[in-house]
Symmetry: T
Subunit: 147 residues, 12 copies
């Protein structure tokens, strides 16, 4: 089984800035830890981060026929990008939306998500642990679906 982990704008700063809000682990650490845990259960994870909406769309396109599920933390683009929604629907791969912090406790414009309604599930608020939970949920779904 193969997954794609996508991180959107500003998530490259993880662990470097605003640790109170986002925790102290770097994105690399999160990616490494996730890949390690995945490997133990024979799952491969490709990781991609970009601050460009277009690059995220391109990367999602490339996932066609190569990936069984997508984990996506689109960052600020969650709330503004219909292009990413369209890309996710076009490739027709099950995906899970995840967030480090809880968008409901933040500015009101973070409560609109353009990808949530078509997501398999949503996980938010658990910091770095959100990645782990989202992967567990996605894998559980994929295993059920391929039974």
């Amino acid at each position: 089984m193969r997954l794609l982990l996508i991180n959107g704008p500003n998530l490259n700063l993880l662990g470097k800035r605003e640790p109170d809000l986002y925790g102290s682990s770097s994105l690399e650490a999160i990616e490494d830890s996730l890949q390690l845990k995945a490997k133990e259960i024979d799952v491969e994870i490709d990781c991609f981060q970009s601050n460009f909406e277009g690059a995220l769309v391109d990367r999602i396109h490339q996932a066609v026929d190569k990936v069984d599920g997508i984990l996506i933390n689109a960052g600020a683009l969650t709330h503004t990008s219909i292009a990413i929604r369209d890309a996710l629907l076009a490739v027709n791969i099950p995906y899970v939306e995840l967030h480090l912090s809880n968008p409901y406790s933040r500015e009101s414009f973070r409560q609109k998500s353009f990808i949530a309604d078509r997501a398999l599930g949503v996980v938010s608020g658990f910091g770095m642990m959100s990645y782990q939970l989202a992967m567990d949920g996605l894998l559980s779904y994929l295993r059920e679906a391929t039974k």
Copy 2:
């Protein structure tokens, strides 16, 4: 460590009605499975379900000083009950909001939650697996907090 799992209105019907929407496991099965997994890691879980808002409020009150964290699937009351919000804030116990289905793919009135903004985190859309993920997320937080 001790947790409280609260299920709101209509969740007693789990597994009996609308399996397409909510899956085929009964609430008892979900509770048992959760308690089993918890026991392995030395965590106790009290389970409570009611169709009465008042009973849910009462049960939350009783958790004071006895429970380290709450898992709550308030069902329809998620969207209409300020009393449950007030109860959760009053007892001041960290809680995770969870849903079997993804509220964003359903009626628009399910997109308002009176408890999400003060929740530690939110998990939705993974069916029965949502309970497992919510517990994992809550425990991960509690362990971090008590370190």
Copy 3:
């Protein structure tokens, strides 16, 4: 054929208070009269009233496999209870929403109904006669459906 008549909060006061608004018949009189007319055409009607949302949800659950159709005057809960909506949809029994008075001539918050969009039909404004009309409409539908 067997029906369930559900009356929500404050309808136990019928005939006792505000006769100008709700008429002078007591709820018992309405129930008796309806049961009488039903009996003539070999229809049984169970009647239930409660001021507790949870009790109404419980009663709807018990109707599974025992009742062919539901007549429901949810009173004020019509406008605030998603739990009752969920219960009605879960048991999947055809139901008719009814009101003694016409909600459109009253406060604007009475114009939102959480159960109307999934109801078989809606009858309002005819006072005590609303119950009779709702039963006639429900039976007409059930007979058609079971032909």
Copy 4:
């Protein structure tokens, strides 16, 4: 006693188009059946249908002093015509609003009615049976009022 039955735009197509939505009886059949039932209880019913708002307004005006009650299915004009509202209020004859289908299960713009708040009562969703129920409700009211 004398009633007026008014049907608005597109209801002349009843039974000819979209039977799934509106049933298979023609408007004539509905009118005949209603008149027959009415005759048995010594009630006369005038029937009128038009696709022109102006013609409906004219017809309502002519009802002054000749009609005891009005049954009106204004079709699409229910949601857009203040002129029909004004005509109904001007002639000051009790009226019942009725619909074949349940407007709440359809497009959101069908949930605004310009005549409901001043109607004696509203009946919707019972197909052809809605006409019968509306007549029963109107007659019950008129008999009570003239006692």
Copy 5:
């Protein structure tokens, strides 16, 4: 100088129904009185009333090159008809919007006018006198404009 007086739906009932709201003069009396006063100052007034939006549009079209100004009480169509607005703008004749009663003291949907923003002026609330005032205002403007 030549004017056109247009009255919309239900205004044919003036003086016959709801005298408390609209006064006791018939539309004919209002038209006659206005024509009389106009004749004294060498002004001709054509009068037209219809309950059909289409007929009002047609009549406005016919005014091209024959009429110097329009007095319009569009009744309920004031609030719902863009077709009348378009007709008035197309013929490009100065017009005054008038109402017998004050729309601001009535239902909120009467506070939207599709013709007010392009009207020369608006007069409302003076009952039958509104017609007189609207004519005076229109003539005053036309005289000024043709100086």
Copy 6:
């Protein structure tokens, strides 16, 4: 008979600034002309202008028992002052709201009036002539009322 003419903020500039929008007559000229015409029919008019909301409120209070009707062009305060509304309702004197220009053709915030719903009538858009029409309408009403 005695009237009070009240002009609100910036109307002291009439004729001096923005003649395209408001005409070229000064406020004094308008007041004089109105008083002249009034005198011919034995009506007295007191005139008052202020840029202070408080002064307008005070002046309205002083009108109690001395004035039969009020003509008010509250200018910008039409859209923002509830205090003037309260003053007009407190003294309980019939009043007419008037405007030189047509508020519907201007900024959207000019379409809210805090005094229109309780006014006897409203006149707008006829420039200086609005004053004359408003006075005619008010006097016509007062004569009718005192018959």
Copy 7:
């Protein structure tokens, strides 16, 4: 004279939780102190608290003919319960709405009250003292009314 004091959800926690927000007196202490002060002026006060909307509705029903006025702190139900509103209107007993804290300084959803518009008066923000003030205001009204 006899009063009924009703406290809604979570108010049983008074003095035990969140003293910064709600003060350090227990509900029992508040009830006792109020009853004591009432007794001095020959007023009896029945006290009732419940976390169940249905129980509050039932209790209000029982007050018919036994109670001269109601003091109600409906807690979170103030903002969500139409059933309590209906119960208060049905029994037709003058009531005062009261709150310990000032709802205007809290979440925006606390600014909607379903009972305020029909209340005799509203008192909020004075902590435990709100009960005293509400009682004083209610008694002052009742004495005036029975003079």
Copy 8:
């Protein structure tokens, strides 16, 4: 193949009024030119214009079983008529919505269309050319569909 071209209110004035906004061709010229081009490719076009909503509804009804596709420029009724929507859906004939000018560059109330969401396609802003493009698009679709 046979098409129906429907033009709504005020379009009879085309070429006669407001050439800047709508161009200088008369409606007859547009209809003739369209019929000519259609004849070359063996397509017949019936043309109908009315200022009456009811007449447009009637004409759409008559198209049943006689027409393969409808071109409709409903003019102002685009934004206000649900009856035309219902007629189009009832006859179940593919239709294209067209406009001479671009509704997005005009008043905001022209941005609501009651027929667009069920149209095969929409063409606007190309003046007289909009008719040609709409016909080309409709024919292209019909040919594809009947292949």
Copy 9:
């Protein structure tokens, strides 16, 4: 201890106009009675009323360092004046908002208060008694705070 009582626009008319709405006591009587009761408990009250927002702002400024608490019935300015809000916050003196009538039972624009969210507490609906209750509440708070 020293208090300042501020009354806004139109409150100088108290007892003179609209006694049904505001009671029959004059403002002077209310002020005298309040000062008398205050004197008994060694509290001084300065009283100020103006119909000018600017004068109210000035008076609030002068209270700095001279007054321990403010009672304010800002009348209509409650709903429109941010300047008074700013003045109250600038002088940083605890204040109580009070109203004679209950704003919730009146026009919807009276339900917005620019000062309520920063007030110590709010009292409304008790007529003249509102002043007494507001003073009691304010003094109770001040005594607690200075303990």
Copy 10:
């Protein structure tokens, strides 16, 4: 004559994904077919697609003085990008907005377009044929304009 065809995010997937929604032609096929038809009438078309908003803006800038008209299917950016609007207005080249599907039949957020109000015209819903129609409309306009 020279045109520029711009396609926004995800349109590179045309023909590869979701053929039901977008048809089975690839973007290359559409571009080739359009260029072929254009060449026959001596029109050149440059084609550009990107998933990056910035690249689309850059490409529009380069069109200055080189292109007579723009055909733009901005995809999801239609609804979210003000930068593209600004670019189109800055280069001041007439443009036509086009869509394969009909945005009115899809999610509500697709009904907001940031470029429609300044477009020469809009074509939507005809699948691949939309490109042809948009080109025809644009050329027709350009020929008229350069006559």
Copy 11:
């Protein structure tokens, strides 16, 4: 060159109250410093502050023909006064809106300005420095305009 500096309600308190929010310079100090800097470049500045909207309107009127530009910090009246807007537009003098603090970081009602859309420019958030920047911007514009 001659400028007018206008300060609205509560700005007389500058430096005396809430230094954290508004800085520690008094209004006099700000005015003096501004006049000093202006004098160096041969610019005269008249300064005016009032807590009365009417006085601000009067002062703006007096500026006609005497002043080349206006600097205005209308304080709370920025958000509520249409009268000041009208005065500024009537005198037709270029003006700059300025604020000490940044209104966007404060209450939402401070984000509406009735004067911003017609201002030459807006400066906010720089404390006392906002005055200097606004003057620099205004002078730069005036010099350009008079070149």
Copy 12:
């Protein structure tokens, strides 16, 4: 001291297109002039422009620890990009938002800024001079802060 000047989409066209709206200076000229003036007071300014949101986010990230303040004219992205907001908050460098034109005099969607509420200050409407004023304001703040 070191500043970063960031210009967003379409600002590379400055001086080349729409001089009436944006002035006739090129972006290079503005940058040069600003750098020159800065050099005189020993301030260095890095300049960056891009039409890509992602590039702007990247550039902001690089400013960490190298820049004391940011001047940002985000152009159209001001109104649509939460990613830029997040980048600015993440690097935690004081920034000033600036605009050449006054967004309040333009389309309503330009009145929402995603960066204004956390900006040190905002300057708009002074054309090229806005850059100078923004720099002066930023430097004045930085000097104060580092005192």
